[in-house]
């Protein structure tokens, strides 16, 4: 079996599902479940498409890195679908296309192909967010996404003109061989970084996020904040650690952007009174942290930061968005006491938020400690200080939120969680706890990932 099936089958299923409208949710469910299962049976390899050898043709890179990405993204995607496929039947076709696009993003080893998949998954995302019933926000998302990907394309073409290749691994190689001064490639890289930054929710480029996530529902919240965020995290990770070369000026500018993104994200979450806003601003800060970690070159722990965030945000957004869908409000004060009658869901939510803060026994703690340790080992004192100070702020608003959601005596909000949500969030929460305690497999995996050289893998 070849990894290309992960892209082709959902695309094909998308066309089929147009023909069989009634069966489309089931097609979606089966296909998304199958892509998780199939992952276990595919061998790690680099797939050449259309018989053109690697630097000339498009190739898909199915290595350890993309395997983890595919596992996490496909699993979370399947869980989102399992929760929502009945309610959002008309979205089935689009979700299938989104799945194809996301898998493509994770697999592709070609920079232009990446652009195509960004647009495919982007267009799917615009359509999915149309279910928010907030067309203006979706329109903003569309404008931002299009501008971003256009800039990415311009940057890419400049690089193509300079080095004559579009293959990621080959590009990295060419840049290294040609010995070009890093400041010469700074501009195209900046353009590409901005393009990805729009999707990755980095601060000045993310004005769309609030409109989308603050009015998100049970489908869009988890899928944008968790599945899409994880995918784009993996893509940024691959490009930053393997392809991009940063000059000092550019590195400084980007580090400042990222630190500003983290600080502003936490401050904005701190000043919010709506649950969804708190979560979305917190995820902006987390996105900044993810990119920062990759920028420092920590592949292994960066990957697990993405994974921890994705799992956590999935739980948080599913729980709150279900409640706000039912109640029609997401003011913290209206949701007070939400968990008094929903203890199981509440526990999962608590686990996810404690993990996001980085408290021990949860996955977030392991990841955060290792990242901080690595940063210190590089002699970097400023970035850890910023991370620690912001996580105090983060902790305060999460703790406040948790206490408000757990403690109230009278007039409790009435929200019923169906059993599937309960199962899904509880299983994820248990996984977060298990890997927070049993850290050995994560650590070996992270160390393995650090050793992977994408350049070698891509050119095989």
């Amino acid at each position: 079996m070849s990894a290309i099936l992960l892209i082709v089958v959902p695309l094909l299923a998308a066309f089929i599902s147009i023909l069989f409208k009634k069966a489309s949710p089931y097609i979606l469910l089966i296909v998304s479940f199958a892509s998780v299962i199939v992952l276990g049976y595919i061998e790690l390899e680099v797939i050449t498409i259309g018989g053109f050898a690697s630097p000339y043709g498009i190739n898909l890179v199915f290595d350890q890195y993309s395997l983890i990405g595919l596992y996490i993204v496909n699993t979370l995607f399947f869980l989102v679908v399992a929760i929502n496929c009945v309610k959002f039947k008309e979205m089935s076709t689009i979700l299938l296309i989104a799945l194809a696009g996301l898998n493509g993003l994770l697999l592709t080893g070609d920079l232009f192909n990446l652009f195509v998949f960004i647009e495919i998954s982007g267009i799917a995302a615009y359509l999915i967010t149309a279910t928010n019933k907030n067309p203006l926000a979706t329109f903003n998302y569309l404008v931002a996404g299009t501008v971003g990907s256009s800039l990415y394309l311009v940057g890419l073409i400049i690089l193509y003109a300079m080095f004559g290749t579009l293959n990621m691994a080959d590009m990295a190689n060419e840049i290294a061989v040609s010995g070009v001064d890093a400041s010469l490639v700074a501009f195209p890289f900046l353009l590409m970084f901005i393009g990805l930054g729009v999707e990755a929710k980095l601060l000045p480029f993310n004005s769309w996020v609030k409109g989308i996530l603050a009015s998100s529902n049970k489908l869009t919240g988890p899928i944008i904040a968790s599945v899409y965020a994880a995918t784009i995290g993996f893509v940024v990770g691959r490009l930053l650690t393997s392809v991009f070369v940063f000059s000092d000026t550019l590195g400084l500018v980007i580090t400042i952007i990222l630190l500003a993104s983290i600080i502003a994200g936490e401050a904005m979450a701190f000043s919010s009174n709506k649950v969804r806003e708190i979560l979305l601003f917190s995820s902006i800060a987390q996105a900044g942290l993810v990119v920062l970690v990759f920028l420092q070159g920590f592949i292994g722990w960066g990957v697990f930061l993405v994974v921890a965030n994705a799992a956590g945000k999935f739980i948080l957004f599913t729980v709150t968005n279900h409640a706000s869908d039912e109640l029609g409000t997401d003011e913290v004060n209206d949701l007070k006491g939400l968990f008094v009658n929903n203890k199981i869901v509440g526990l999962a939510f608590t686990v996810a938020s404690l993990s996001a803060i980085g408290l021990p026994v949860f996955l977030g703690f392991v990841v955060k400690m290792n990242i901080l340790g690595d940063l210190f080992a590089e002699g970097n004192l400023f970035i850890p200080a910023v991370i620690l100070i912001t996580s105090v702020v983060e902790g305060i608003y999460f703790v406040r939120l948790l206490i408000k959601l757990w403690y109230k005596e009278h007039d409790l909000p009435v929200v019923q969680y169906d059993f599937i949500i309960k199962y899904v969030v509880v299983i994820l929460a248990i996984l977060i706890m298990v890997f927070g305690v049993y850290t050995a497999p994560i650590e070996t995996e992270a160390n393995d990932l650090d050793l992977i050289s994408f350049v070698e893998g891509g050119n095989l």
Binding site: E119, L127, P135, L142, V143, S150, I157, Y160
Partner: protein
Amino acid sequence: MLQYVAIVLIMLGLYGLLTQRNIIKIIVSLNILEIGVNLFIVSVGFVDGGLAPIFTSTYNSSVDFSFVDPLPQALVLTAIVIGVGTTALGLALAKNIYQKYGTFEIDEMGEE
């Protein structure tokens, strides 16, 4: 020369996005931006006095001449298609927005 035109178009597009508050005008600006990008891509492959990159019966390897780079043209085709898709989606959203707010002017819609 073509590059400058393309860059000017990109700048025009960005200027339009920066200044326009009308949904349709924003979509038009996006299109201008995309056309600029597409032109820029094509211009990269241009070789002065180059031939179309097709092996024909008249092709003679002994004569020294150069082909135009075919890859940007392939890329530009894809980019155009994607651009059209986005524009269509944008217009569909514009319709939705008009139905909801009764106007195309963002300023008249009010903050959330």
